[in-house]
Structures are given as C-alpha cells and as structure tokens.
C-alpha cells in the first residue's frame, strides 16, 4: 500500500505520527516527514498507516487505490 500526503492540507497536527511512527514523524521544526513517500509501505506498518489515514484531523492523508 501507498499513502499520499496532500501537502496543501497538512497542517502538521502530528496525530498520524502517534499512530504510525515508523511511517510519519514530525521534525524539530514541526514539519511532517513521510518515510515512504511514493513508495510501498511495508506490511508490518500497514495497519498503523491505515489508522493514521483514518485519524488525520484535516483529511490530508489518502491511501492510493
């Protein structure tokens, strides 16, 4: 699975980083980093990544279909 970040919408609330810390993280500046941007997310992180999509407060994450 792949997840796209809509960078125009992302406001850096960081809720995704709590759900899937291996995939999403906030740096010291508060900017979001997507460790698998454009790449397949390993199966072991997929469940966390899906729940990150579900809880993004501004719906900035989308699972590629």
């Amino acid at each position: 699975m792949k997840i796209d970040v809509d960078w125009d919408r992302c406001e850096g609330h960081g809720i995704c980083a709590e759900q899937a810390p291996e995939v999403f993280s906030l740096d010291d500046e508060g900017e979001l980093h997507h460790a698998y941007d454009g790449a397949d997310i390993p199966d072991e992180f997929a469940a966390g990544a899906r729940s990150a999509v579900g809880v993004c407060p501004v719906a900035a994450l989308r699972e590629q279909t």
Partner: protein, 400 residues
C-alpha cells in the same frame, strides 16, 4: 420538505433547556433509532452515529457549509463571509490567511508564553485552594492568550466572553436562547467592523495578517470583520469547555489523575479522550446539494443535515464502553474538532493550552476534589460547565 417514510423520526426537542443540560440520553435514543434520524422539531436530518458523521464531514462537496452551519436562517445569514460558512477554493483561501498562525508548528513558538501563563494561573489557584474550575483555571488561560493572538484591542475585551458564547448560542435552532444570543453576536460583528475600519488591531497579530491580506488584495476588505470573528469566537468557550470538563473528570477519577502525575506523557492522548468525552461543541449542520444516501437513508437534495459530533463520540459501534472516561484508550479518532477541510483550525492551540495547564497542575496538585455542585451553561452549541467548585490539594497540605 418532508422526510422519507422509512427514516426514523424523533419528536422530542433536543434543544430544550433540559436536553441542552443533559443531551446524552437523547443521543443514545437517536443512535438506537438509526444512523440518520428526522428531527420533527428542527426539521432536519440528524446524523448521529460515528461512521456516518465522518462520511458527511469528509464529503464536503455534497454537504456544503456555504449556506451556513447553524440551525436557523438568521445566523446563517449573519455568518456569511466566515471561513466556517464557505466551501471549496474560497474556503481554502480564507483558511490559508489565518490557519498558518495556528498550526502546531506555529503555536510551538508560543509554548513558553503558555507555560508562563499556566504557572501563574495555577499558583494563584493553589493559593486560593477552593476554586471555581471554570473561572479560576479553565477561563483564565485562553482569555490571557487568545485576544492578544487575534489582536483584539484592549477596549471591548470585557465583552469578549459574552459575545463569543452568544455567537455559538445563536447557531442553534431559533429558540429563545438563540434569539437573545443573535443580538449579542450582532454586537460582536459590529465591533469587529469598527476594529477593521479603525485598524485598531494589535501589530503582529492574526488580525494584522487579515488586514495585510486585504491590503494585498488577496481577500476583499469587506471579508475582514467576519474573518476576525472566525478565529476569535471559537477559541474561548470550546477550550474552556475542554479544560473545565477535564478538571471535573479528574476530580471524579482520582486514579487517572494519579496516573497523569506519575506519567505526564499520558496527557497527549488524554486530551483526545477529554475532547471525545466532553465534546465541547455538540453539532453543526450542512446542506446537501444533491440527493445522497447516508447509512441506507436517502437524504433529498437541499435538505439540512445536522452532524452530531457529541453523539458520534459516544457511539458504541466505534468506542468500547463509550460512556466511561479512560485516558489510556486510543481516542485519536474522536470527532470533537470535526474532521476534514473544516476540521478545527485552532486544535493545535487548544491541545497546547489544555495539555500545558494540566501538566502544570499535575506537577503541583496531588488531588483535585469536588467541592460543591457544578452547574452547566445553557448554550445551543457549546456543552460546558458554568460553575465547577473544586478543592486543589497539594502534597504540602496533605502533610500538614
């Protein structure tokens, strides 16, 4: 407009004073009736279960905000021009003018100031020992931060809390609360117009950003007063509701307060659980621009749809034992801040304020004890305490 015969109907008024004070039994009945219920009194489709609330919030092309999010046409007309009542590109533009000041990244720069204010407020409260959790703690923090951030001039600040509460109250159905509140909400808009005309906003504030955006022709000058209110009105009562609700909950659950004291890192998720459990904002509405199916119910074109966040946050289909407060549950999916393009722009600041105040309290206060009967505010949209008598017990006091 009439409901489909297959849609369950609910005849009780969920905006009567009694229901406003204790809405949860009504929400439970509504959820049991179905995912979408026709409210005979308000003549709207209420969406009351978690999954369907989320579906409506995420489908902002079908369920628009541009005709208002209130339950009455007067407030929907007064709210024209706000970010709250706009859609699509217009909404994105308005949100971009101000929301960048409120992102977690931006509010992080304010964390030292919030910490200072929280320490002063908590120290003063500890000295008093018997406090009103609403006035002495929950209200004190946002009112010491938000007016400066938005840049509201010193003059007129004495009216802010009343105006902001009334602005929410006016968004309910046209009951007698809303009629009184609409007058006060109008006063706030008139004051905001004067502030824009006189350019009396504080330098460097969000209000100054709004004027700069108009000077640069990114937005129209006529939009400025509404944008000021957009960010000022929602940032007081909501946070006051969350903080006072948290204080009440921790006074009822001393074991969970002890857990927070032992491990303050729990507070990050605890804020989600606090917002889930207290839902400071009950519900907002949308208008369906096409016929659409939600939870098996066909909602006709042009129908008004009420998204009941507070009910979604207690839906047993989504939450295990939803009426129990548990700061260790994963409550990150709560809908208290809404969701999607209209998701609360101030939630970063709200989280910072709530977490900081609770962390400072946890460092210094061993127990938060109930010290009298609390009472709730009567407001069509905001669900919060009006008075919350508490006793703050420090370690020294226990020792002596």
């Amino acid at each position: 407009m009439t409901a489909e015969t297959t849609v369950p109907r609910y005849g009780e008024d969920i905006y009567s004073t009694a229901a406003i004070l204790d809405p949860y039994p009504h929400y439970a009945e509504l959820r049991a009736l179905g995912p979408v219920v026709w409210l005979s009194r308000q003549k709207v489709y209420a969406v009351v279960r978690y999954a369907e609330c989320k579906q409506v919030l995420l489908d902002d092309e079908t369920f628009i905000s541009g005709d208002g999010v209130a339950l009455n046409p007067v407030a929907n007309r007064l709210g024209r021009g706000t970010t709250l009542n706009s859609d699509g590109e217009e909404h994105a533009l308005k949100r971009s003018v101000l929301a960048h000041r409120l992102t977690p990244k931006a509010v992080r720069k304010m964390s030292a100031e919030v910490q200072d204010k929280a320490e002063q407020i908590v120290d003063a409260a500890i000295t008093k020992q018997w406090v009103d959790g609403v006035d002495d703690l929950a209200t004190a923090l946002p009112t010491s931060i938000v007016p400066d951030l938005v840049g509201w001039p010193e003059e007129g600040r004495e009216n802010l809390l009343r105006w902001a509460g009334a602005t929410f109250d006016s968004l309910g159905p046209l009951n007698r609360h809303a009629v009184t509140a609409t007058k006060a909400a109008g006063e706030m808009l008139a004051f905001s117009r004067r502030v824009v005309r006189d350019r009396s906003v504080l330098p460097g504030s969000m209000g100054a950003d709004v004027l700069a955006a108009a000077d640069e022709n990114r937005i129209e000058r006529s939009q400025c007063p509404a944008l000021m209110i957009d960010y000022l009105a929602p940032s007081l009562d909501t946070t006051i509701g969350a903080i006072s609700g948290a204080l009440h909950l921790f006074s009822q659950h001393p074991d969970q307060w002890a857990s927070v004291r032992a491990n303050p890192d729990l507070l990050s998720n605890a804020v989600n659980e606090i917002v889930r459990y207290t839902s400071p904002l009950r519900a907002f509405s949308r208008r369906a621009v096409r016929e659409v199916e939600v939870g098996g119910v066909v909602i006709p074109r042009d129908a008004r749809v009420l998204v009941v966040y507070a009910s979604a946050n207690r839906d047993p289909r989504q939450w295990h034992d939803p009426d129990s407060f548990d700061i260790t549950r994963d409550a990150s999916g709560q809908l208290g801040f809404g969701s999607g393009v209209h998701g609360c722009a101030g939630q970063g600041l709200a989280r910072l304020e709530t977490q900081t105040l609770l962390r400072v309290l946890a460092e210094r206060v061993e127990r938060i004890e109930p010290a009298g009967t609390p009472s709730r505010a009567v407001n069509n949209v905001i669900h919060r305490f009006d008075r919350l008598p508490l006793r703050l017990v420090t370690a020294e006091r226990i020792a002596s």
